[in-house]
Amino acid sequence: MSKITLGNESIVGSLTPSNKKSYKVTNRIQEGKKPLYAVVFNFLDARFFDVFVTAGGNRITLYNCLGDGAISALQSYADEDKEESFYTVSWACGVNGNPYVAAGGVKGIIRVIDVNTETIHKSLVGHGDSVNEIRTQPLKPQLVITASKDESVRLWNVETGICILIFAGAGGHRYEVLSVDFHPSDIYRFASCGMDTTVKIWSMKEFWTYVEKSFTWTDDPSKFPTKFVQFPVFTASVHTNYVDCNRWFGDFILSKSVDNEILLWEPQLKENSPGEGTSDVLLRYPVPMCDIWFIKFSCDLHLSSVAIGNQDGKIYVWDLKTCPPVLITKLSHNQSKMVIRQTAMSVDGSTILACCEDGTIWRWDVITK
């Protein structure tokens, strides 16, 4: 890692923006005083492509992006326990197509909210410490996966409230898990990364029967035969410090540590010997002033660009379709000075949302020429 070996150089993107697209601020909302840690658009249901959800403090709030830059607040949920601080939120779907929102935070309890009925659908208890990220399986949106400080990753069925699998143990993470993401096409596969500086790729192929079983389970969820998956199929050390966000980009992985850059790398697994392989860093997307942890990036549905905020409240939008990497634009505003914890790109990338440490939500819209 320290030295890039000959012939394995990666292409570094230039920080001069191409300005292929430009964005302008169209709205700013103050949700509260508490820092906002997550903002996510709904990609699962075409009716709600404009709806996004934020998490911060003990509140989960749903908004709608209107055409003219306006934002309307739709619903808000607050945990009765003031101690709760939500770190992450994700959209999910019931079997009948009901949109769900799953959120988790410092208490380690995952709240599954049926936003169509405005009720708590399930509260998933099991993590021994705070939950750092929740992601939904896009091909089967009843399945969510959670990354926790308790060094485990868990797979849940939000419909039945069952903890299906626990990914921890001998080959598991050695410290807080900060981020997880499902492989876009391989339904069995996901990647997780965390404070132990590694990115691990896991497979649940052998355990898929349990996943199927979870859908028909009618007994008490606590009686479900939850299985431990102790060994990932691959452990990559492409970073040397905390890895706080990773996303699949096809068969490649985008991941970031606290080194002011996002890496695009290819995990090369050895077919016959599980657990072994190499990682080949292909591209580097520099992001200045981004060396604190828990800053997460986001992509649009088509994965054509990635947006990431930094400590100074600026947003870097990189084109993912080009090689070498091209910076589409850098978004800055003289009043945006706070750490942007997470961004959200709308389905087509025309809107970028940023949620900040000071509890504000910024909306940027693309300028159509």
């Binding site: 103050q30 749903l62 709608n64 209107l66 808000s76 949920y77 197509g97 936003v115 549905l301």
Partner: protein, 902 residues
């Protein structure tokens, strides 16, 4: 290019230095660096192109994927009736909040009422939303814990789990940012790369540069500089590359590297490496793979089923074929050499067999002490030994002639073994005892021709002298019949004095040839070769093993070990002729006499070692123990068994002594007893003898096992056993007094049900489900076995978190239940505990048992005294000074993490 400027020694990787030690010939360094530079550029360009290609490919795949996402979300959206959903309704109804900011930075101020949101403009304060939130009812959070994996037995640390040598960044919750938990010196060691493998691009540069400029020292020096390696490395690599190239050009002749061409070592590699002979499972997590192989000095006799002379094992059974008389060639052989285990096998009753075997044992086995480390060699000699015995004992009850041939076979083997031993001996600095051993080996050999035969062999003669003298000594005993038979054989064949072995070989060979001509159509010499060729090394070794297990019973060998490879008849043939052939083919031929091992003995051994070490390397780098440990003064807090600064128990490692352990026995030196896993014979003085308790039920210190903090072992103790199953398989006869050993609870996992719950004190706690009486065994404290060094490192982090599950086990290991363990790890500390822990030796392993200190009622929480060393104990674990201050008060102030949970 940059070559003029760059100084020679301070070469950067990108700018290779120009000046190189002036070689008379060879291209100028400038030229070299230019070539390298251009190659490098080419590589970089290639890399760029390959990245682009891969990205494009990925993009294509992605397009399809995201398209399908889009479709499925469209479907999801379309499937629901519009308007019926609450969220849709909300979407429609809720008023929009217009921006507080526009491009000109004239921010508008928006404020909402409590129920509805409107907007006011004109301030830099952003829009505030206020929607009456829906309450989520409070759910009590769990006490924090780290996900842990249940272990019902201890486990050695997985190799990549070490924090030793790995940087760990610890995030201090209270103090703010991250701390790097490693010593600077360690990172320096991390930088040291041991033997980097050559990467493809480096190969490319080497190949191309040397191709263009030719092989010369200056070029090599340039390359070495550029790749920051040594010239010799580069040179060696170049050689390898050229060879590879040749191979690839000459086409692939490696196609036939199938399993069958492996030798026994290769085939057994995974077995030897992965099978734990102590736990009798593959991939044992406790003792790990690649353990030292310990072969017991005492082996069971070959299995010999009752034989029915007329029972054949199939169409190809040698009995059938012999009877049918289709092979006249075999008639004389049978008569003369009496090889047929037909006669021998049938007549030998098991009792005779074993008695004979036992009689020989003391003589032969000590010889095996030869190689305590070379398992490979040892295995061979083992198998030979077995073979030899078999042949000998097989023939016991046969006619003198038969006997003679049997002896002769034995002798041949012996010769070879002796010969084989010689190099080994020199390698391993064997003692004189060895030489005398070889006497006993040679006990079977006796004829004068033996000596001649040996003279022809070019092995070192020192030990052969012994053998010879041994022979002459022994020949008084067994000489006559053997000589007779030898002569009888010689009479039949053209004897060649100088190469007697060959001549002996010819005897069956020529006979064989009759047969060969009949149904194989081969000539004498070719036929002989063919028989050899037909037996692949693996098959030969399998045959060896077969003889070891079944004796000279070709039916059983063929059926159990060589099914699919060889028929009984073939095995029989091989058996009979290989006996005669003995050592003829030396290296490439006959495994049964071990000569192949002998010939390439040195290589063989080296191979073995290399294979092992490669295995180790692949399995992880953790075993690098190079590293200095400066901060050893600091010890993390660990639980202990006793308060005294007593010596910890010693970790037991089985010894490989082949004779009764002497002063050099590693067990003895280490201060442990020999166990049943040691190689030494049962008579070893250093063995723990177990107990003979009859009435005490092994529950008091009267029982030697109990007194020594050991559990009874059914294999060792006289009266302690386990009755399993329904008794249909036979139960050892009861001694009348309802004796039942009570000192095997860990072994049998006879533990109490322990429940995990929220502690009354703090964090999690362990509770007992059923009431137990005093001194009852409750369960085992299991965890990862880690080294003390590792424990110190881990402990540093655990101590920061004030949450340690470390438990001192013995002088070598610490138990860490942090990530793996059982529920008893949650039992809290108390200075007035109701339980106690005890390290007990169970079947060679130290384990921690938790026992009731007093009567404990159902549902009570379990506490035991962690017995931290007084100067290192955390505040809450210190013994209360004043009698008034209770443990609880010490504990409760700790916030967040369950401090005393450990």
């Amino acid at each position: 290019m940059a070559s003029e400027a760059s100084p020679s020694s301070s070469a950067t990787r990108s700018e290779p230095p120009k000046d190189s030690p002036a070689e008379e010939r060879g291209p100028a360094s400038k030229e070299v660096s230019e070539v390298i530079e251009s190659l490098k550029k080419k590589l970089a360009a290639d890399r760029c192109i390959s990245i682009k290609k891969r990205i494009d490919e990925n993009k294509k795949n992605l397009f399809a994927i995201t398209q399908s996402f889009m479709r499925s979300s469209m479907e999801r959206g379309g499937s629901c009736k519009d308007g019926s959903d609450l969220l849709v309704k909300r979407q429609r109804d809720s008023p929009g909040m217009k921006s507080g900011i526009d491009e000109s930075n004239n921010n508008r101020y928006v404020e909402d009422g409590p129920a509805s949101s409107g907007m006011v403009q004109g301030s830099s304060v952003p829009v505030k939303i206020s929607l009456r939130p829906i309450k989520m009812p409070d759910i009590k959070r769990l006490s924090p814990y780290t996900t842990w994996v249940f272990l019902d037995r201890n486990q050695r640390m997985t190799e990549d789990q070490s924090v030793v040598g790995r940087r760990r960044i610890y995030y201090d919750q209270t103090g703010g940012e991250a701390l790097i938990c490693s010593d600077s010196e360690e990172e320096a060691i991390d930088d040291e790369e041991e033997k980097r493998d050559f990467l493809e691009p480096e190969d490319y540069i080497i190949r191309m540069t040397l191709e263009q400029l030719g092989l010369s020292d200056s070029v090599l020096a340039e390359l070495a500089n550029f790749l920051s390696r040594s010239t010799s490395e580069i040179k060696a690599r170049h050689g390898v590359l050229m060879k590879e190239k040749e191979v690839s050009e000459s086409g692939d002749n490696q196609a036939e590297s199938s399993l069958l061409n492996k030798d026994m070592e290769g085939a057994l590699d995974s077995f030897d490496n992965l099978f734990c002979r102590r736990c009798l499972v593959f991939d044992c997590r406790l003792h790990g793979c690649s353990q030292d192989l310990i072969f017991p000095a005492e082996k069971p006799a070959p299995w010999c089923p009752p034989v029915d002379e007329n029972l054949t094992c199939g169409a190809n059974c040698y009995k059938t074929l012999l009877k049918s008389g289709r092979f006249p060639g075999y008639g004389p052989i049978e008569g003369k050499t009496g090889t047929s285990s037909d006669g021998a096998g049938t007549k030998t009753t098991p009792t005779k067999f074993s008695s004979k075997l036992n009689g020989r044992k003391p003589k032969t086995f000590p010889s095996e002490s030869a190689s305590s480390n070379e398992k490979c060699a040892l295995e061979t000699s083992d198998s030979e030994n077995g073979l030899q015995q078999d042949t000998n004992s097989d023939k016991v009850s046969s006619s003198p002639k038969v006997k003679g041939s049997g002896r002769r076979v034995g002798r041949k083997r012996n010769n070879n073994r002796v010969a084989e031993r010689v190099p080994r001996k020199t390698q391993k600095r064997q003692k004189k005892t060895e030489a005398s051993d070889s006497d006993s080996i040679a006990s079977g050999s006796c004829s004068p021709s033996d000596a001649k035969h040996k003279d022809n062999e070019d092995a070192t003669s020192s030990s052969q002298k012994h053998v010879k003298s041994g022979n002459s000594g022994k020949s008084r005993k067994n000489g006559t019949p053997a000589e007779v038979s030898n002569n009888s054989v010689k009479d039949d064949v053209p004897v060649c004095q100088s190469n007697e072995v060959a001549s002996e070989l010819d005897a069956p060979g020529s006979d064989e040839s009759l047969r060969k001509e009949e149904f194989m159509g081969e000539t004498v010499s070719r036929g002989r070769l063919a028989t050899n060729k037909l037996w692949r090394p693996l098959e030969k070794s399998l045959f060896d093993k077969g003889v070891e297990i079944f004796g000279m019973n070709s039916c059983l060998i063929a059926r159990n070990l060589l099914s699919g490879f060889k028929s009984c008849w073939e095995v029989f043939q091989y058996m009979t002729c290989s006996e005669n052939k003995a050592s003829f083919f030396g290296g490439d031929g006959l495994n049964p006499d071990g000569s192949s091992k002998f010939d390439i003995n040195g290589n063989m051994v080296n191979n073995q070692v290399r294979r092992r070490s490669r295995f180790l390397r692949r399995r992880g780098k953790v075993r690098r123990l190079k590293y200095t440990w400066k901060s050893a003064a600091y010890h993390s807090i660990r639980k202990r068994i006793t308060e005294k600064k007593d010596q910890p128990c010693r970790q037991f490692n089985p010894c490989n002594c082949k004779i009764a352990c002497g002063k050099e026995c590693p067990c003895l030196l280490n201060g442990t007893c020999c166990e049943k896993y040691c190689g030494c014979p049962k008579s070893c003085k250093n063995r723990f003898r177990g107990c003979h308790c009859a009435k005490s039920q092994c529950r008091s210190r009267q029982c030697p096992c109990f007194a020594a903090d050991r559990e009874c072992d059914p294999d060792v103790c006289r009266n302690c056993w386990v009755i399993g199953g329904d008794g249909s398989l036979g139960v050892p006869s009861q001694r009348g007094d309802n004796y039942e050993c009570r000192n095997m609870k860990l072994l049998l996992k006879q533990q109490q049900r322990v429940l995990l719950g929220i502690s009354d004190i703090s964090g999690w706690g362990a509770f007992l489900k059923n009431s137990v009486s005093k001194h009852e065994y409750l369960g085992e404290y299991t965890g990862e076995l880690i080294s003390h060094k590792e424990a110190d490192k881990r402990g540093k982090i655990y101590d920061r978190e004030n949450c340690s599950f470390l438990f001192n086990l013995n002088d070598q290991f610490v138990l860490d239940a942090y990530r793996k363990g059982d529920k008893l790890k949650f039992a809290n500390h108390s200075p007035e505990p109701n339980c106690y822990a005890k390290v007990i030796m169970v079947a060679g392993d130290h384990r921690v048992g938790i026992f009731a200190k007093e009567r404990i009622l159902a549902g009570e929480e379990l506490f035991y005294d962690y017995r931290y060393e007084p100067d290192r104990a955390p505040a809450w674990a210190k013994k209360p000074e004043a009698p008034g201050s209770k443990k609880d008060e010490n504990v409760t102030p700790s916030v967040g993490r369950p401090k005393k949970l450990a």
